[in-house]
Amino acid sequence: MLKSRDLTYQYPGSKALAFPDISVKAGEALLICGESGCGKTTLLHLLAGLRKPGSGQIFIDDALFSEMTSAQTDQYRGRHIGMVYQQSYFIESLSIIDNLLLSPYAGDRSKTMSIANRLDINDLMRRRPSQLSIGQQQRASIARAIMSSPRLILADEPTSALDNRNCLQVLNLLKEEALSNNAALVIVTHDDRLRDHISSQVNLEPVN
């Protein structure tokens, strides 16, 4: 479903980052591990089309994602990619339910309720994001990520800020939701707690 080949990226004034090729199929999960500063988030943003690679290609469903125009990329990301971040970003002035409906490609309200039920946040829908605990916020951002029934879920350190109990809960939710949407799941993390739970792993080498 998702494949990358010879990806590199160079920030101005620093050494070029070269990434190992990755490949993940629909319904499967891939863990990309590495220490801070090795370019995990950069790789994830390349995969999400938030940055353009310096060289190399990204294929999604055999389409050359990395060569799409920025408008096509934005549209594709909105429609087919769900993103989860380490910090839960929300529109602070909107209630949780409106945050779930934020994307122009999000489903309707009935879908919100069924997802909220599955993620056990249905009591929180009328609340403001700041009124939720960190674990609740992370569940709400997973809910938002799957609102558009994505084909690919990209998660950036989704568990780093969570305690063990919440960590496992969030990981399981991500895996379950990816499976039920038949979506590919890519998690980048330095959180070693996840290594035992996802077999398919890629390690990024630290940059010197």
């Binding site: 943003h45 909105g78 970003y89 409106d98 994307s103």
Partner: protein
């Protein structure tokens, strides 16, 4: 979703929003009141001017003469001799000459002695009764009837001068013979009668006896009940006190035949057959007679120029407030941009295009402008309401609430202030580095 985000964001920070909106409100409110008053005053002055080419009256301030004779707003400059006026009226280039005579008022409304031509000039129509035809008959303007409740057949007494508490001419009651429909002109505020009535009340008409005009007139006439016109009684007028009615002692009524030309009127409204000759006549009148001739349009332009200086100052102040409002919209949106950068980056990551963010911020600026405008509009109408309460009692003047053409420009200006102030923040939102913002934890 975008309008909802814009709206929620504005009410999420109510103080920021209140600051922007209230500054816009005051700017819009002040400018709106000025526009309303200026437009309506100009319209009213234009409408009441009709086709009066020249105003002739006693020497004095030309503006005062126009204000008193055309708009009935100021005191008259004095009286002129009918004989002298007659020379101007009989000039062949004059198409129409309407004499005006005043002196009295009823409950603050002027009693104007004139001819039916005057009513025709303002396209007056009768609602009730008929036009005045004899002395001491009065036809009332619509506003007076509304306010005083006088009806056809009623009688009332004039008060000397313009003041409500002046001397009352108790011996000379007027009879209401007609009521006019509203014409939205000065007629609405006038008690109309013929010139003879004014002369009668002030007792110079038809008297052939030797008047004892000593000192100033008080019009405290001692008519001893027999002020009939049998020309026999011994009218011992006891003029004293401080009334200045320009009768200054030169009444020569000793002739057996009364020459009306020795009577006085207050002013003369002229219309020429052709405007070509207009420039000469005033000069001749001003140079060769005791009267002055004034081009009313010129004086009114001068008045508006003078009023305009004050209005311009106020407009500059209001413009300054608008500019500050624009800056506050800019600062609020720009500052919020820093707090909201993660939200905006998030929006990009869920599929919004840079153009959407640009539009969102512009829309927020526009929303502030819309609310500022609406509240400013309300404020201006509230202002007009209070100005009306004052103006009604002081000048018999009422401003309408209606939309005036200049307000379209004000609306456009307000929207532009909102949009232009939001341009830079919107540009920044559009150009931000989403990936960088989402990666700094």
């Amino acid at each position: 979703m975008l309008p909802k985000i814009a709206w929620k964001n504005l009410i999420h920070k109510p103080l920021n929003t209140a600051l922007c909106v209230s500054l816009l409100m005051f700017g819009v409110g002040i400018i709106s009141v000025l526009l309303l008053m200026q437009h309506q005053l100009e319209q009213k002055f234009e409408r009441d001017l009709r086709d009066i080419d020249l105003v002739v009256g006693a020497k004095g301030s030309p503006l005062q003469l126009v204000l008193s004779a055309v708009y009935h707003l100021d005191a008259p400059t004095g009286n002129i001799k009918l004989a002298e006026a007659r020379k101007v009226m009989d000039n062949p280039i004059v198409e129409e000459a309407i004499p005006l005579a005043y002196g009295d008022s009823y409950q603050g409304y002027r009693i104007l002695g004139t001819t039916p031509d005057y009513l025709e000039k303002y396209n007056a129509e009768l609602r009730d009764g008929r036009l005045f035809s004899k002395s001491m008959e009065a036809t009332l303007g619509a506003a007076i009837v509304e306010r005083t409740g006088l009806q056809v057949g009623d009688t009332f007494l004039g008060t000397h001068g313009d003041v409500r508490e002046g001397h009352v001419h108790e011996e000379h009651p007027y009879t209401v013979v007609g009521v006019l429909k509203s014409t939205n002109s000065v007629l609405d505020q006038l008690v109309l009668t013929n010139i003879e009535s004014v002369w009668d009340v002030h007792a110079v008409h038809g008297d052939e006896d030797d008047h004892d005009h000593e000192g100033d007139h008080d019009h405290d006439h001692d008519h001893e009940g027999d002020h009939d016109h049998d020309h026999e009684g011994d009218h011992d007028h006891d003029h004293e006190g401080d009334h200045d009615h320009d009768h200054e002692g030169d009444h020569d009524h000793s002739d057996a035949t009364v020459d009306r030309d020795s009577m006085e009127i207050t002013a003369l409204l002229l219309k020429y057959k052709s405007r070509m000759t207009m420039l000469n006549i005033p000069r001749i009148i001003n140079d060769q007679t005791n009267m002055q001739a004034v081009l009313p349009g010129l004086e009114i332009n001068r008045l508006f120029y003078m009023l305009g200086v004050g209005a311009t100052t106020l407009k500059l102040i209001a413009g300054g407030i608008m500019a500050m409002a624009g800056f506050s919209v800019f600062f609020v949106l720009y500052n919020r941009l820093r707090e909201r950068k993660h939200e905006l980056a998030l929006m990009r990551s869920v599929g919004y295009r840079p153009g959407h963010l640009f539009g969102l911020l512009l829309f927020e600026g526009l929303l502030l402008a819309v609310f500022g405008y609406l509240l400013g509009w309300l404020l201006s109408r509230l202002g007009i309401y209070f100005i009306n309460r004052q103006a009604e009692s002081d000048f018999n003047l009422q401003f309408g609430w209606g939309w005036v053409p200049g307000e379209w420009w004000l609306l456009l200006l307000t929207f532009l202030v909102g949009i232009i102030s939001a341009l830079l923040p919107a540009w920044r939102a559009m150009r931000m580095d989403v990936s960088k913002i989402l990666s700094d934890n």
